[in-house]
């Protein structure tokens, strides 16, 4: 049993709903009690969709349990097929139905329909949403393409040359309730097309079952979101020889690397290599003198695997931040996140518990948090600026304007989204110069003034605990007074450093002098 207050991921059948709802001409019959219909609102409210998800719930009740729930399943399947006439039917169960073992998928297959039926077995007691989405997309791809496996030759990435046309790729992985997927697809298609590469199919977002059957018309697959598409890409590679890309084009360096990777695979010459860096404003904005203040800013990163890894790379290499924490709730991506964390000399945090993340955040005392909506709330409580970079989705993460995360425009969006929660360079510079001015004592700090008091509380309440800590370090009156004079945005760092120094030197009480000693020591 796992105690959860808030969770990052829903159950696996919600992942299946994401695939079904992303696509056309598909219907999903879900054996589930009435309350599980709440999942519809994820799509209609959070994604603001004007359509219901294509899902029929069997809505079994306690009184049905003694009787024939299997008949109820069949009745609902028949009604759904008659009403919605899907080209492919997904059949599955939610956590409760899994326990009563009606095997709705097998029942559906015995009903004599002529459309393909995908029987989804998604273990609800051991797996979660992203896994469910990945498995559904994989099962769907496999079902719709398995007959073509034996007849098909291995697909060479160079086939386009023989056929005398532009190379074609599939873009796999974007789905509803994925972070800014809708806009990422537009951006990536634009980039590919500029490079002379056509998009064959985008899936699951916007694809129909026929489109899935056409996947093998392309030469290469772009695995845009590993959490959802990697299993399918791997199956297509094994069975059709289709190669797929590994680089996620988030950030300038990754976008360039992505373009290079796909060119190498397709043996397509890069025509406009030099121009690439100038496609986005991020590199210049990051170099401009106003950005000087970004140097070494301490950032804490937590999110799904794909976005967390990309964020770490951008933070360090493109914005000059110092990454002081990196983690993910995607256990499936733990290995990759650990590897990235190792490169950055931090320990990866792999957890599903947002309170653990909050604790780690507190300890790392960052100046900026890049996280999910959950971290946004934790950061707010700690008085730290935050930008949201990953699912779980919130209605705020479905903006009306075009705001991809990927490609050139994505890099622009990221620069703005990450930097705006901080103070702008000039502003911070001025505060630094005038920090002894009475204007800049607590409660008077610029934009973030309203959070400053919270910062103070956080430090104060920490102090109370600190007194009882193992190390038994105490802040004296003079020490504490000096600490409050430190501008709030570096106060957390100064505090941690001073304590580190005190422990190092075996100093039991921190006075104003200790603080200056520590400052000298660490500078």
């Amino acid at each position: 049993m796992e105690l959860t207050l808030w969770t990052y991921e829903g159950p696996p059948h919600v992942g299946a709903m994401r695939i079904a709802s992303s696509m056309k001409d598909i219907h999903y019959v879900l054996h589930a009690p009435q309350g599980d219909t709440y999942a519809d609102l994820l799509f209609t409210m959070i994604e603001r969709r004007g359509q219901r998800p294509p899902v029929t719930y069997t809505t079994f009740q306690a009184r049905d349990l003694g009787g024939d729930t299997a008949e109820l399943v069949k009745k609902n399947i028949k009604e759904a097929v008659d009403r919605f006439k899907p080209k492919t039917l997904l059949v599955g169960e939610s956590c409760t139905a899994e326990l009563i073992q009606d095997q709705p998928g097998a029942l559906a297959k015995g009903m004599g329909f002529d459309m393909p039926i995908v029987n989804l077995e998604l273990p609800a007691y051991s797996k979660k949403e992203n896994w469910g989405a990945s498995e559904t997309f994989y099962q769907l791809t496999r079902t719709l393409l398995k007959e073509k496996v034996s007849s098909s030759e291995k697909i060479s990435p160079l086939r386009w040359k023989e056929l005398g046309r532009r190379p074609k790729v599939n873009i796999l992985g974007p789905s509803l309730l994925g972070f800014r997927c809708r806009d990422d697809v537009i951006e990536i298609q634009r980039i590919l097309s500029e490079q002379g590469i056509d998009t064959n199919v985008v899936a699951p977002l916007g694809a129909s079952p026929e489109d899935i059957e056409r996947l093998i018309d392309a030469e290469v697959n772009v695995c845009l979101y590993q959490e959802i598409a990697e299993a399918s890409c791997e199956w297509l590679r094994r069975n059709f020889g289709m190669e797929y890309t590994n680089t996620i084009p988030i950030g300038i360096k990754n976008t360039i690397e992505f373009i290079n990777e796909i060119h190498n695979k397709l043996d397509l010459p890069l025509t406009n290599k030099k121009e690439l860096e100038h496609k986005s404003k991020l590199p210049w904005y990051s170099k401009s003198v106003d950005s000087n203040y970004l140097t070494g800013k301490r950032v804490f990163i937590f999110g799904d695997g794909t976005h967390a890894i990309a964020a770490a790379k951008i933070a360090k290499e493109e914005l000059g931040f110092e990454v002081v924490g990196l983690g993910t709730y995607s256990r499936e991506m733990a290995r990759q996140v650990r590897a990235t964390a190792k490169d950055l000399n931090v320990e990866a945090l792999i957890t599903n518990n947002y309170l653990e993340v909050e604790d780690a955040m507190k300890k790392a005392a960052p100046e900026l948090v890049l996280g999910t909506q959950m971290e946004r709330h934790s950061a707010k409580r700690l008085g730290i600026p935050c930008s949201v970079i990953s699912t779980p989705m919130h209605v705020q993460d479905v903006p009306a304007r075009y705001s991809p995360q990927m490609g050139w425009e994505g890099a622009n969006v990221i620069f703005d989204d990450w930097v705006h929660p901080l103070m702008m360079g000039l502003e911070e510079h001025l505060i630094d110069m005038f920090k002894h001015d009475f204007e800049f004592v607590d409660g008077h700090q610029s934009h973030l003034g309203h959070t400053a008091t919270q910062t103070k509380n956080f430090i104060n309440s920490d102090e109370k605990k600190e007194k009882n800590s193992k190390e038994g370090i105490i802040w004296t009156e003079s020490g504490r007074a000096e600490l409050t004079k430190v501008p709030f945005f570096v106060r957390g760092k100064v505090k941690t450093n001073t304590e580190k120094y005190a422990i190092l030197r075996g100093i039991p009480e921190i006075s104003d002098e200790t603080l200056y000693d520590a400052k000298a020591y660490f500078s």
Binding site: M1, E2, L3, T4, L5, W6, T7, E9, G10, P11, H13, V14, P33, Q34, G35, D36, T37, Y38, A39, D40, L41, L42, T44, M45, R48, R49, G50, Q51, R52, T56, Y57, T58, T59, F60, Q61, A62, L65, N76, E79, R83, S94, C95, T96, L99, I100, P123, A124, Y125, S126, K128, L355, Q373, M374, H377, R381, H394
Partner: protein, 418 residues
Amino acid sequence: MSKVEFNKETGPREVFCGLTSIVWLHRRMPDAFFLVVGSRTCAHLIQSAAGVMIFAEPRFGTAILEEKDLAGLADAHEELDRVVNDLIARRPEIKTLFLVGSCPSEVIKLDLATVAEKLNKRFLGQVRFVNYSGSGIETTFTQGEDGALKALIPLMDSSNEEKLLLVGTLANNVEDRFKKIFKNLGISNIESFPPRQSTELPKIGKNTKVLLTQPYLSDTVRDLKHRGCEIISAPFPLGIEGSTKWFLAAAKAFKISELKVHEIISPLINRSKLALESHKEILKGKRLFLLPESQLEISLARFLHNECEMDLIEVGTPYLNKDLMKEEINLLPDNTKIVEGQHVEKQLDRVRESNPDLVVCGMGLANPLEAEGISTKWSIEMVFSPIHGIDQAADLAGLFSKPLRRNQILTSKTLVTH
């Protein structure tokens, strides 16, 4: 007696399950914690129903069953023990811990009553454990509150003191208003159930006169009757008419003259009627379709027809207790079509056919209906907003006039377009 048409419908539903009640119950009783024993789906449901993730640490959580818990019930009991211990260590301020059953815990027959009993012994004097089911195979939406309240009744001491007991969760300001009005009427011993602190349960007995504030409390009412309480039969205090009759029924039970009631509430009524006017202007003659969700639908239909002059196309309700709803049904216009249960697809077909001006529905359906050009109001808003009482009648009407007003604004042709 009106000739109301009753229908029953079965099929796929689109309603929340009883776990959702936790979202308002945990705010009502800040010293309580609601621990759902269920699946990741259950956890995700309350998270989604609670909407925004705004609480530092919510007073509810889920003990998510995992594969190994399903294998053996003994292990599940042990695991639950461990989770509860952790929780109490973390939240020592909790006074009452509700163990809330879910579909999975019921299907595997996890005996939460026994668990609660054991825990009660262990944490005697520190935390009280109570269990009920909010499962979707047993309950819909507001019925979770019925389960939670029913579970508290055995903990209520007996007393023969004469009192008025208001039953059903109300917004605090509404409750304060009611108490003040009752005091002016001469009823001074008033208590609420659920109370604002889970530990301050009212004492009940044969001189307890129960006045319901919410229509979805069938089981609670039955158990209160068993404890000797007298149930005052009345419509529900929604709108001027419902509230007036509700006050009158209470007054009658306390042998207070009708005259006195009118004397005290007529200024409120006059004020409220005035406030209602502007909403009525918008709502009058508009056609209303209520999909089932909160069990408040019948009372809302009565208010929106009788006081706001809307036309009722269909009144859905997830569950109908004809006994409790008797007074309400009597006030409905002739030929009102009440549909208990749901076949969501067929019901939506009827919505489209009848082309209503406004549909009351769950959150999952609202945007799709709006996209079809049909204005909507979410039922969940009714359980979170202060809508009870005479003073709130205009606010209640406002919940329904707003979407219509908004549509008027957005489709108005006052701006010149080129």
